[in-house]
Amino acid sequence: MDVYGLRGPLQAIAEEMAVSEEEEAEGDEEAFVVVRKRPVTSDPAASSDMYCSDCGTPAHSGQHTHHRVVPLPDAVQDMKAELGKSHSRLTEKISQMENFASNLEEIFITVEENFGRQEQNLEQHYSDVLQTLAQRNSENSTSLQDQKKQKLEALYGQLLACGSLLDTGKELIENAQELHRCTNRNAFLQAVMPVIKRIENFAKEEVELKVGVSMEFTTPPVDLTGVKQMMESINVVPAPSAPVMNPQVVNSATTSSLRVCWSLFSDDTVDFYQLYCRQISEDITIEMEQDVSVRRVKETHCVVKDLLPNAQYEFWVTATNTTGISPTSERAVYMTVPSPPIIRPQECLSCLEAALVRWDSGNTNPVESYTLELSEADTHSSVTESIVAIPTCECLVQLQPWKRYVIHIRAVNIGGASERSPPITISTTGTFFPLLKETAHPSLSVSPDGFTMFYLDEDLPISEMVFSDSNFSSCVAVLGDLIPIRGQHYWEVEVDEWAEYRVGVAYEDTQRTSYLGANATSWCMRHIRTPSRHKYEFLHNGWSADVRITVQPLQIGVFLDYERGILSFYNAHLHQHLHTFTCCFHHYVLPCFALDKPGALTLQTGLTTPKYITHP
């Protein structure tokens, strides 16, 4: 039966139904018209407007007294309803038939394909078998030919040998006969003895009269087991072809699991897959191959758990059915998502317009990049700004002044992004910075909170001091880690009454062997204490302005303004301006602090610049 042919009639039925619907619609109108027309013809018999449901005819006469008689319009309505029901039933049947027909179509096609494949398969098999047989045939015939050649050669050899013997014998006999005929007695006697000798020798020789070669042909045993096997396997389902590993899908990995997928690009029957997994070690010192784990899976995907974060794993897969196992797929590398980083709050810097955030990777192996997520703390909006593709463990981000921000970091690799790190809150209300402890002179110690500097009474002996390139070696000084932003910055230093100190700013590469203020790379306010009075210097390049101050400042406000090129010092308690350096800062400067005699200084950062300084 032609499936396609079936569609035609079905289609026709559907069309007819549509037409009949239209006709019915028209019919409705006509009936309507008829009903209206009825009163015009005004049949005197009222019963002519009636219809008998039982008989199914208009009720003209009184025959229908016991029957169910209804007015004509009602009857028409009833009939229409019935017609509608049959109509819908028929439509349903038609759609079922249509579905069935399309199903049949699909099956038809599938069967065609499957059989086609089977045919191909069979053809392939048989041609393989034939090929093998032909090969065997030619092998065998070659071996027979070789045998033949060998035997013929041997026989020929024998023949030759016989021939030569015959020739020799004949020659001797001729010689003897000739000799016999010789009339010369002397010559005869001379020659006869050697000839006799020769004949005797010849006669003594054994003559091989046997045929050296057997007449039999040894046919090698025909090994057709391979062919037999091949014939048998024709009827069997083939082993599957190798599956193909899919590349890792974005966002399918977590820190401890991977969703591994593969595909089979043929319609082979597969009972189950075997998924192999091996961790790739980044550490090249590990010589041994890591263990391979195997999982048996029915689907073409598997979620592998209990993995390490930020690690690479190699996967390959085989498909198995009753016939056998497929070849292994190519290996694919998947990567788990990294662990979240950890922000280092003591090393984060900020000011009114920006922040520099630093963090630890959180992963032993390198990650591809980091993402910084930033949102305002006080608003209820969930707007988050993200900075992506950060290559190192720090990021300078521009911010708005007078706000509080919450910042998270994520680590990113090819497997995806980690969870958010624990947050840090940054307030852009003032400049905040820590001290750079690695620049401190060995005799300068810093309190645990990182903001009080001490020069204790006892100097360490020079031999015990550890010096490096970054710390001060003469001046007992330390630098602060000011954020590299060319705006306005303010901080305060609380000083002891007796402390002899230097506070100010210096370029990052200021000479570590020199004293603050003694060179062109630093500017500072210096306090010297004599028994009778206080002396103040404002030092740069070894030169100081001559300023007398009557009330000793115990809280010094330092104000730095890159734009205007000024560095000002204030008595913060009295709001009294002490001195201003006007300089053009070519590079970024760092706050510097030093103690010339034993004493202490305490740094206060994160303060808002007082109004008397910004709005005088």
Partner: protein, 249 residues
């Protein structure tokens, strides 16, 4: 009291004017310079009183010091009175440059024939402020005093003798016995000032006294500067800014 405008020149967006009036303290006609910044047109402004040095009149400061720019920027009225009563015909008043005419020293004389007219302290601390407050858009709560040379001394004694009036007669002595609201004094001294080198100026004494009494002073010794108006000009901006910090707070 009737004020007569003597001159008016537009300067830095405001007006540099000179007025004349009959002084009741000094019993003669006195002139003073007044700079009105642009802000004075729309509201009251603080007043900065400038006391000039020996031999000066109301003209020297307003023509030579270049204070109008800073005053305009900070919205401050600058009043610069004359340095002594004029035309009183007191015998001996013109004999020396540092006594009598042009040398009022901002003190009230206690002896004849000077005591009738030479009352510069009262003029500067009472009559002049009253006059300014009633005739100009001046904020009576906000005034400060400054000066050069003799005027510097005058400023110090006005401030020290009137605790709380301004955010003796020997400043050093006054400082030694000052008790009142916190002051914040800025003093600039030219290192090459001939009066300094001849020991007519004794800043160390003042500094010691102020240190003793914990009166906040920042005293700056300016290398290469002398006593002239060039020196005044160079640092007047710093001083107006210093005053503005308190006047505009």
């Amino acid at each position: 009291m009737a004020l007569t405008q003597v001159s008016s020149n537009k300067c830095c967006g405001g007006y540099q004017k000179v007025f004349e009036h009959d002084s009741s303290e000094l019993k003669c006609k006195m002139k003073f310079g007044i700079y009105l910044p642009p802000k004075a047109e729309s509201g009251k402004c603080p007043v900065f009183y400038w006391l000039s040095g020996l031999t000066c009149t109301e003209q020297n400061f307003i023509t030579k010091a270049g204070s109008q720019q800073a005053a305009s920027e900070h919205g401050i009225i600058i009043v610069a009175p004359d340095t002594s009563p004029r035309g009183c015909n007191i015998e001996g008043e013109d004999e020396s440059w540092d006594f009598g005419t042009g040398a009022g020293f901002y003190v009230d004389a206690t002896q004849d024939p000077w005591k009738t007219n030479y009352r510069m302290y009262s003029y500067v601390t009472e009559e002049l402020p009253r006059l300014i407050n009633s005739n100009f858009p001046a904020d009576p709560e906000k005034m400060s005093v400054s000066g050069h040379s003799m005027g510097g001394h005058g400023a110090l004694i006005c401030a020290l003798k009137n605790p709380g009036k301004y955010k003796a007669y020997d400043a050093t002595v006054l400082a030694a016995s000052y008790s009142g609201p916190e002051l914040d004094i800025l003093i600039d001294q030219g290192r090459d000032d001939q009066f300094l080198s001849s020991s007519q100026l004794l800043p160390d004494n003042l500094i010691s006294a102020c240190s003793e009494k914990k009166i906040p002073v920042v005293f700056r010794l300016q290398q290469g500067y002398d006593h002239s108006y060039y020196f005044v000009f160079s640092f007047i901006n710093d001083h107006i800014k210093h005053h503005a910090k308190y006047l505009n707070a």
